[in-house]
Amino acid sequence: MSDAAQIRFRAATEESPAARWTLIALAFAGLAILVFAPLIAVFVEALAEGVTASLKSLASPDARDAIRLTLTIAAISVPLNAVFGIAAAWFITKFDFRGKAFLITLIDLPFSVSPVVAGLCIVLMFGANSALGGWLVAQGYPIVFAMPGIILATMFVTFPFVARELIPVMIEQGRAEEEAALTLGASGWRVFWTVTLPNIRWALLYGVLLCNARAMGEFGAVSVVSGKIRGQTATMPTTIEMQYQEYLSVAAFSLAAVLALLALVTLLLKTALEIRHADQLAAAHRH
């Protein structure tokens, strides 16, 4: 009699162990070379002359100005984009109107426009040699080569992040809870603060997180509009470029390491959200 337990069975929906481990090994090797190596290289280069040299370069006026500017830009553009994302998601999911698909395509547009082209658009619209830009400069409100331009460029490239995260979640949640609250006599704002916002808070945080990471790290669009004036319009990424080109490797990589840490924290929080609040995120992030 054959003892079934002695025979090694493989389920019909599995690959052979050899194939499985080969694929896993390829995944590890690929990500090690493509992703982990550059990440580690940032920290290795930053600490090439020791921790003190690295910290000293971060305390330099250039670095401090850049960090301050980048934080300011993010503190302005991210909340604005969050407001836009909430408004757009509300408009799109709570009302039925013609051209909804087209509106969504327009909101997604910045994802498929090169950041450099985005910066170019802003220069052409608000630059000193455009009609509007010339008038604004004459009034003493320059946009390009100044803070407003950097904020606009940052908002352009991060524009879809919050809306894209909220729209699928709000479609899935439907309108029933809001309708119930309305029948109970709640005002519009009350419905939003007490019913909608608690339901979308994790998805909102998720979108804000990604928006912030991109906002602090944006380079292409900001390079075009900022003019890279030290102490005035040089953000962290543009300062990294300038220091790197001046062969200040430790300084450039130390600033880069700060941004890399920010990226790691973003990924950590994002993964935590995906694990703990999967049911309240867009379906594509549940895994």
Binding site: M1, S2, A4, A5, I7, A12
Partner: protein, 239 residues
């Protein structure tokens, strides 16, 4: 083909899905595995098809030990509860799939495959739908296509998991007769799983009543009705 199940058991972790069960299915029979959900009937069917492997015991096909045969080697025509049609293929390609998947040496010619698919479409009385995609079919049509696809590989037996489960009452009645007719034409040993005692009693030659991983009674429909062997069987078929 004569099927013999010899002291088959199945453990999932610490829970026993099947206590050792034994059953002989005569060649050409139409057998129903009847029981509530969790009775082990689907597990037993999947063990016959080679989709699940027993923790102990043997399966014999025509007296030969088939326990270690892979699912591909078993040549069991399996119809899934969800039908599991390939959505990206036409009905024609779905039915031809098993023939196209054969190694080159034993693969029929294109013309021969086309001939066989056409014949099967006639058998399931849907000769016109070869070019359609599964998403364009009704539930009843999908079930018949799944049956034709299983028959295309010239199976040694036909295994069906709740073949009428996803259909409404009217279509279900029609398709019952369809399955009976196909069984009678092909003469294949056929095992189907159901939780519907009317379906089992009306369609099967032999009914196997299962509960909690055990076989409660094996018998002809009229015998089970007349003489239920256990209180469970009495309750279940009386319901």
């Amino acid at each position: 083909m004569h099927i013999e199940i010899d002291e088959i058991s199945k453990q999932f972790g610490t829970t026993a899905a099947l206590h050792p069960v034994s059953l002989a299915i005569p060649s050409g029979a139409l057998v129903a595995l009847l029981g509530p959900s969790g009775s082990g009937k689907t597990t037993l069917l999947r063990i016959l098809g080679g989709l699940e492997f027993p923790s102990s015991g043997r399966v014999l096909f025509d007296g030969r030990d088939a326990t270690g045969l892979s699912v591909q080697e078993r040549r069991a025509g399996f119809v899934f509860q969800s039908y599991a049609l390939f959505r990206h293929m036409t009905v024609f390609d779905n039915i031809a799939y098993g023939l196209n998947a054969r190694p080159r040496a034993t693969r029929p010619t294109k013309a021969e495959i086309a001939r066989r698919v056409t014949k099967l479409l006639d058998l399931i009385q849907l000769p016109e739908i070869g070019a359609r995609y599964p998403s364009q079919l009704s539930g009843g049509q999908r079930q018949r296509v799944a049956l034709a696809r299983a028959l295309a590989i010239e199976p040694r037996m036909l295994l069906l998991d709740e073949p009428f489960g996803a259909l409404d009452a009217k279509v279900r009645k029609e398709l019952r007769q369809g399955l009976r007719d196909i069984h009678d034409t092909t003469g294949l040993t056929t095992v189907f799983v159901t939780h519907d005692q009317d379906e089992a009693m009306e369609l099967a030659d032999l009914v196997v009543v299962m509960s909690m991983g055990r076989i409660e009674q094996i018998g002809k429909p009229q015998d089970i009705r007349a003489r239920p062997a256990t209180p469970f069987v009495r309750d279940f078929i009386g319901a």
